[in-house]
Assembly symmetry: C2
Homo-oligomer: 289 residues x 2
């Protein structure tokens, strides 16, 4: 396929971030969805979207929401002028349903098989640019990768013995990692894994990597270095730690390291629509190769 010389993004394939903001954490304040809580004065979902806005190699962002917060999330996106957000879609009741919804949308848009898809939990607001870059790089060598952080605690694998959990095995600590996000895949790979998984009604993974590991066992999934600060905000008890990290990051902002997102000169919603059309056209072209 001939690539138009004027294509704004230098890389060969689209790099699409899918920001999953559909969870309705039952362990959190039920009246105040955690992805909308502000830390460092900014809603958690905005931190996550901005991480991908700031990475020049990410071409497009898809945001997956719970229908109950759609209005608020759309307002936040409009106000901040996130130029790469192409579409806000409704997720499902479980994490896998939300990922599946995003994959269906991308398939309907005719995204190419070799597009790089970075799936990120919105409630991990402090993902580092190095983790995003590392994920994009890893997909040049592997078809799947996940950001993960080496466990400092020994991990125990358990089983049930009556009404009690007992230890089944203790894996070597250097080979135990705590999964973080983004979890990244070539589009055809994650799509294929989800197709296989959808035939299994008992499959409810908490993790996209697992879909590949379990259904495409011959496909190695690379580990990309995460960080302790890439924490998942699960309960209200996580907020003080999150505030401290936000404070550190905003301190850096004042010195110009981040904070590149601002209102564009053009209407961001108009621009986003135009770019979604461009994406669709580009994707449709690449699909035919």
């Amino acid at each position: 396929m001939a690539k138009p010389a004027s294509e704004p993004i230098a890389q060969h394939v689209p790099v699409v971030a899918v920001v999953l903001a559909a969870g309705f954490g039952t362990r959190f304040d039920p009246d105040n969805p955690k992805q909308l809580v502000a830390v460092g004065g900014k809603p958690i979902v905005c931190w996550s979207i901005e991480a991908f806005e700031q990475c020049a190699r990410v071409s497009d962002i898809v945001v997956v929401v719970n229908p109950k917060v759609r209005g608020e999330v759309e307002s936040l996106i409009d106000e901040a002028g996130y130029a790469k957000v192409r579409v806000v879609i409704d997720g499902g009741s479980e994490r896998v349903d939300s990922t599946a919804a995003a994959l269906d949308t991308l398939a309907a848009a005719g995204i190419p098989d070799d597009a790089k898809i970075l799936i990120h939990d919105a409630v991990r607001p402090f993902v580092a640019q190095s983790a995003i870059d590392g994920s994009i790089d890893a997909l040049d060598q592997f078809k799947a990768a996940t950001v993960a952080f080496a466990s400092t605690d020994t991990v125990l694998l358990t089983e049930d013995l009556g009404d009690r959990k007992v230890v089944k095995s203790v894996p070597d600590r250097p080979n135990t990692y705590r999964a973080q996000t983004p979890q990244s895949f070539r589009f055809a790979t994650i799509r294929h894994a989800y197709d296989l998984a959808s035939a299994d009604p008992d499959f409810h993974p908490t993790d996209d990597t697992r879909v590949v590991v379990d259904y495409l066992p011959d496909e190695p999934v690379a580990i990309v270095s995460g960080a302790e600060t890439n924490l998942k905000i699960t309960t209200l008890a996580d907020i003080p730690t999150a505030e401290r990290i936000a404070e550190q990051l905003l301190g850096r902002d004042a010195h110009g390291v981040s904070g590149v997102v601002g209102r564009g000169a053009v209407d961001p919603k108009e621009e986003a629509r135009a770019r979604m059309h461009a994406l669709l056209a580009q994707a449709a072209g690449q699909m035919r190769r």
Copy 2:
């Protein structure tokens, strides 16, 4: 064996806490060993010792130190008047060496086979009384138990592929726990496991539970509920979180929930010596059953 009616501890067997303070964390400030750093105005090692002092069911405490900090730790114990500390012994270069040293000391003291041994990392200063009680209770049903906290992150088990870590498997999240301490054992059980392990020069576990799991695979190890606050202080970055937890606990202290440790009316060192003699005598009696 006839039990003397005047025995001060109501329970049948000694309950010995082994506080491991021998680590010299290379990830921490090398000039300031982490177990001596103060949080909430109190050295970390003191928090850990006090947790077992405060539990009425714990009869004796053995503290394992690095020879370099022995003087300071002994001074802290004397100043605080910890009445249950029987002996301060030198640990080894690895965690297993320190546990082995404690087990040798207990064996030399003729401690009974069914004594309950609670092995605790000094750098987990905020262990809850419920975790200690739960450990002692679990040993009525099991010969080994460990405090552990259910992982909120998905755990990935990895393997090496060239110079890269790749995911080998993704265990079910409800069956993944992060090991904490205390890890508790009937004395004969942990002693037997260590005897078997000592024959294997390649065995360097980071965890006492693993010694039992690997060398006595038919012996179930029960999980006792831990808590997020029972954190392991590994790097300087953990100190702000530790300070916050200390603040909360000290706030509770002001309302009389804890803080039971104070100077006794008698010279604590003298009392400790007397009690070690009593322990030895009691242990020697019980060994013959």
